[in-house]
């Protein structure tokens, strides 16, 4: 790939913006096999980051009433009820004493803090940036709500917040064009403020089972590999790491997962690729098409004035 294809570079090639102040790359390893679906992470995140309430509705979809990651949900616990045995040897968890093979998958989803982040590459204002911890954060005082990052994320994480403007908000410079909403985009910051103060993110702190593990990414990757080997040795049904591979389409996730089934079962894309990976080719196509517009219109002049 050309330099353009790796706009933010492999970790080693990330622009050395921070010099001496650069920190080791921090991230999450979310081990879904020990998640009990308590949603302490969702609550802790809302509390710490002062995220507004966004509807109290019963979805009817297992215990999941959050539904998806959004501007107002930066952790989301997915609940999957499956007629599959937990272990390969067919030893079945039973419900109501019955012999049905049944397992309940729970996964706390979060922004992946991609190595090559579609949202960051797309942002035209520089509001989205790479922190000294290697995480991806929105600067809310710069975001103008263009919304380009929203479809640029392969995981559907980042989203625009639509909330009524409060009377305390600064008056709009262009009142006629003004919107009655917060108007900016929001997502997980990996608790940038807490990291700066030397604390772990609120969700990891709150997680009672250590399903959410926070630490230096390199160390987490090693830990996850060991955990995977243990589960495989114990004959679990379908364990796999998702997002730990630095050679995947987004250059590896800063927040990766241990799953028990295909990613799409949890609402995750099976082979995410940062859109920017194709951008050099796309720019060439665009330039060629632009030239063709000029040549084509010039040809229309050959037939004279009438």
């Amino acid at each position: 790939m050309s330099a353009l294809a790796e706009p933010t570079g492999a970790p080693a090639a990330w622009p050395n913006t921070y010099g001496d102040e650069a920190k080791p790359r921090m991230g999450f390893f979310t081990d879904t096999t020990v998640c009990i679906g308590c949603k302490a992470c969702e609550v802790a995140c809302k509390e710490w980051n002062l995220i507004p309430e966004d509807g109290l509705e019963w979805s009817g979809l297992s215990y999941d009433n959050t539904g998806e990651l959004s501007a107002n949900s930066w952790r989301h616990v997915a609940f999957v009820e499956q007629a599959k045995p937990l272990k390969l040897d067919g030893e079945l968890a039973t419900a109501d004493g019955g012999p049905e093979p049944l397992r309940w998958l729970m996964e706390s989803d979060v922004c992946k803090h991609c190595t090559h982040a579609g949202c960051l590459d797309a942002c035209p204002t520089g509001s989205l940036f790479r922190t000294e911890f290697g995480t991806v954060v929105v600067q809310e005082d710069i975001c103008n709500g263009c919304g380009y990052c929203v479809p640029a994320c392969p995981f559907g994480v980042i989203d625009k917040r639509d909330l009524p403007r409060s009377p305390d908000d600064a008056p709009l410079a262009l009142p006629l064009l003004g919107k009655k909403e917060d108007g900016r985009v929001w997502k997980c910051t990996l608790c940038y403020d807490r990291l700066k103060g030397g604390h772990e993110p609120a969700c990891a702190k709150a997680c009672p089972t250590d399903s959410i593990q926070f630490g230096e990414l390199d160390e987490l990757r090693g830990r996850a590999q060991k955990r995977l080997e243990k589960l495989e040795a114990e004959g679990w049904n379908g364990p796999r790491l998702y997002g730990e591979d630095p050679d995947d389409g987004v250059g590896g996730f800063g927040a990766f997962f241990l799953l028990l089934d295909e990613p799409e079962v949890y609402g995750l894309p099976p082979d995410p690729v940062v859109p920017t990976a194709q951008l050099p080719r796309l720019w060439r196509t665009t330039a060629l098409a632009a030239a063709a517009v000029t040549v084509g219109i010039a040809a229309a002049f050959l037939g004279g004035r009438e």
């Binding site: 706009p7 999957v80 009820e81 103008n144 919304g147 859109p275 196509t285 098409a289 229309a300």
Partner: protein, 312 residues
């Protein structure tokens, strides 16, 4: 399976074992863009291609055509930023677009192209109207000629550089489709506002633009395969059919009677314009539709994985 499940599907296997999704929920987010964006895609196309028509009319000495194209381009170029600003969540911060230049962001590159193009064409139009500062006007006209074509095609890159299946999978076609659509739009607009004895090049640009575009859209839908079916469904399908009908009828009318009948030229031009606007809406809506259904995200990615696996 006998467990009753509260989701009403009757079976606890509703999710996971057979369906390839999480309760059928989308994986990528739908864009948050509103009606201003398809209108802008259309206006930006008009502005970009009108600059080219204008420049070439000027150098070939067709000043009547040049003048109408200059004004058409200037108006479209002036409306475009207003549409974009109006779509922002924080319109008062629109200048933040110009605090960086990022080649990784088609929106950043496009903002700069639009500023240059809009500034140039409006300067030229103002000076033409006032009849002053001719050397400055020529410079502005030249700048507008250079920035026009990229303005017409970058919007294809804007949409394709996303995770929206029906846009990103059409990355080889969208800039071409939008380029052809722009040429047709500007040609049609100029045909409406220019007497027939000077409008020949504009009319031919409109007709050829429509012909090329109809072919390109066909090719795009075919190549998209499974994902391309959204172009036959819902709003995208409706706008698409309107677009094909209007552009074909308009171009036909222009080809048959556009030279002799003023009424035919105006009607044909208006039909083409309506059809091109509908095309932008069709592409816009198709993006939303393809984001809404996780199958369009999952299936192509699974196929990609299988191919990768086979190669190993």
């Amino acid at each position: 399976m006998t467990y009753a499940h509260p989701n009403g599907n009757g079976s606890i296997t509703a999710v996971g074992t057979t369906m390839e999704s999480y309760y059928g929920k989308p994986i990528v987010k739908e864009p948050v863009w509103k009606a201003e964006i398809p209108w802008y895609l259309f206006m930006g196309g008009v502005a970009g291609a009108a600059s080219v028509l204008h420049g070439l009319a000027r150098v070939t000495g067709n000043h009547r055509l040049a003048r109408s194209c200059l004004y058409i381009g200037a108006v479209a170029d002036a409306v475009s930023p207003v549409l974009l600003i109006s779509d922002l969540g924080r319109p008062e911060r629109f200048l933040n677009m110009l605090r960086v230049f990022k080649v990784t962001s088609p929106m950043s590159v496009g903002s700069w192209i639009l500023v240059a193009s809009s500034g140039a064409s409006n300067t030229a139009a103002a000076l033409e109207g006032l009849g002053i500062l001719r050397p400055v006007k020529w410079l502005a006209e030249a700048a507008s000629f250079v920035t026009g074509p990229p303005l017409a095609t970058y919007t294809g890159a804007l949409l394709a550089n996303t995770a929206i299946p029906v846009w990103s999978e059409a990355r080889d076609e969208l800039p071409w489709v939008f380029g052809a659509s722009a040429a047709a739009s500007a040609g049609a607009a100029a045909t409406v506002f220019t007497p027939a004895d000077a409008a020949g090049p504009a009319r031919r640009a409109a007709i050829a633009g429509v012909a090329v575009e109809l072919g390109l859209v066909q090719a795009m839908e075919r190549k998209l395969g499974f994902v391309g079916e959204v172009y036959r469904q819902g709003e995208a399908g409706r706008y698409g059919r309107v677009s094909k009908l209007c552009t074909a009828a308009g171009a036909g009318l222009l080809a048959l009677r556009g030279k002799r009948s003023r009424a035919a030229a105006v009607t044909g031009g208006a039909l083409v314009l309506a059809g091109e606007l509908a095309l932008r809406w069709s592409v816009f809506k198709a993006g939303f539709q393809s984001a809404r259904d996780p199958r369009y995200t999952v299936r192509p990615q699974k196929e990609r994985l299988q191919k990768k696996g086979a190669r190993r």
